[in-house]
Amino acid sequence: MIPSANTIPQEEKIISTRNLKFTYEGGVQALHGLNLDIRYGDYLAIVGGNGSGKTTLAKTLNGLLRPTSGTVFVKGRSASEQKVAELAKIVGYAFQNPDHQLFCSSVEDEVRFGPENLGYSDSEVREKVERAIEAMRLGDVRKLPPLSLRLGQRRRVSIASIIAMDPQVLILDEPTTGLDAGESQDLLDRLKVLNAEGKTIILITHDMRVVAENARRVIVMSNGRMILDSDCRGVFSDLAILGESSLEPPPVSKLAHRLAKYGIPQDVVSAEELVFQLMRSGGGG
């Protein structure tokens, strides 16, 4: 029994899916009946091998793909009843390749494009653009053509162009791919700030280190099913699940597994924690 729009409690969940199925035109079923609740302010990572349905799931959340059956509720309303442009106000989606979005002659114009499409007034647009440029630290390059920037900057521009629409939820598809360690860390720091300010972040990624250090909740996808929904500790201590979805835990978790016989717990997800545990088992030295 699929609950109707008004039976979904609105207070905590910004997105809910009920028995969500999606089949591509060629007959490939990418999602096999997902039930997922995303709360306001979540920091969620969706992980899984290539072709596991991560991107398909994300695209149903903002209406780019319409469910074959089942329902996606956004703020309690069925997404199928709303246009992508309406949903964009609530669910922002930054594509993997920033070059698929950039077309304006200056960073500023690029960032303006979204809020202008949504019909905000001039002063609102200006304010939102300023906030987005500030959030992604693009002040220095705001007059430059986005296509002349480095990949890390181009990605920040494409994310800023989504943030400028002021969506409650921000979906980022592989945001750290192709960035060097510094750029990547910088971007993740900015996302943490946005999350702390109340934005719901959904990160699609292959990088388990990024997941371990940022997300509070992890969903593991495999063959169009959610095979695990847990916090990071639960996911990275479950080697069987990870193997099934061709994922590898971050190095620090692997090290903890190897050190199990010395009494190190299996749910370590950061270097600091490992150091702490080592000091403790080493007799407090």
């Binding site: 695209k59 903002n62 780019l64 246009k83 992508v84 442009a85 964009a88 106000k89 922002g92 989606y93 594509f95 390749n97 070059d99 698929h100 979005q101 950039l102 077309f103 494009f113 979204g114 809020p115 499409n117 949504l118 296509l147 162009s161 989504i162 629409m165």
Partner: protein, 262 residues
Amino acid sequence: MGGFIDLYTEADTFLHRMDPRVKIVSVLMLSLLAFVLTNLNLLLLLLAFIFLLLLLARATMSRTLFALKFVFRFMVLIVILWPIFDPSGSPVLASLGPIKITEPAIWRGVTSAVRVGCLATVWYILMFTTSQRDLVRALVKLGVRFDFGLTLAISLRFLPTFGALIDSIKDAQRARGLELSKGGLLKRSRNYVAVLVPTIVSALRTADTLSLALQSRAYGARADRTYLRDLTMRPSDYVALTVLVLLLVLPTFAKFVMQIDI
């Protein structure tokens, strides 16, 4: 999108095995034959022959219908429009102002529609029984310069890729609140700038990378390149070629030399 651009369907029939050069020449000859024949019955016979080939090549019904759907619409259009624009002949069946619908014009429309059907189907057979690689290799063997052949091969290869790229870019911009079909004609064409610019930029980036990849594999190092696989004519290819040459030459001879009205 991919299925629409590359019609090739893997199978093991005599048409799939036939030398691609013979197939190209045969298709050209059958196309010429469709123009030589003016008699509706003979054209229908040719269409039946071409459909027989379609069956022998084990065409999948759904893909064939999909590919020929547009042609069928075009044929219907010809049958409807021909009599309206061709007032010659008698008897006149109906008239409305300057428009006269005559019986011979209707038959001429039907004849032309059948001819278009023959042409489309015969070229469709070539496309779905010949892989793009074989097609290009045959063209090069028939005397087309290798770089032209390679250009054609690359274009065909990248068409579905660009189809997917455009879809992805459209989605990316829709996620920014762009509504492509909103507004008047001017507004709508301006909407497409947001799709067109990233498409062109991505295409140029791809082309640039591709040219480097070709060079790093020694493309153009020697003029006299060799080929791993060569095309060789088998006895069955000669038989097929002979049959098709006769099929074109006999009616042509009958029409233009013996002045038989066909």
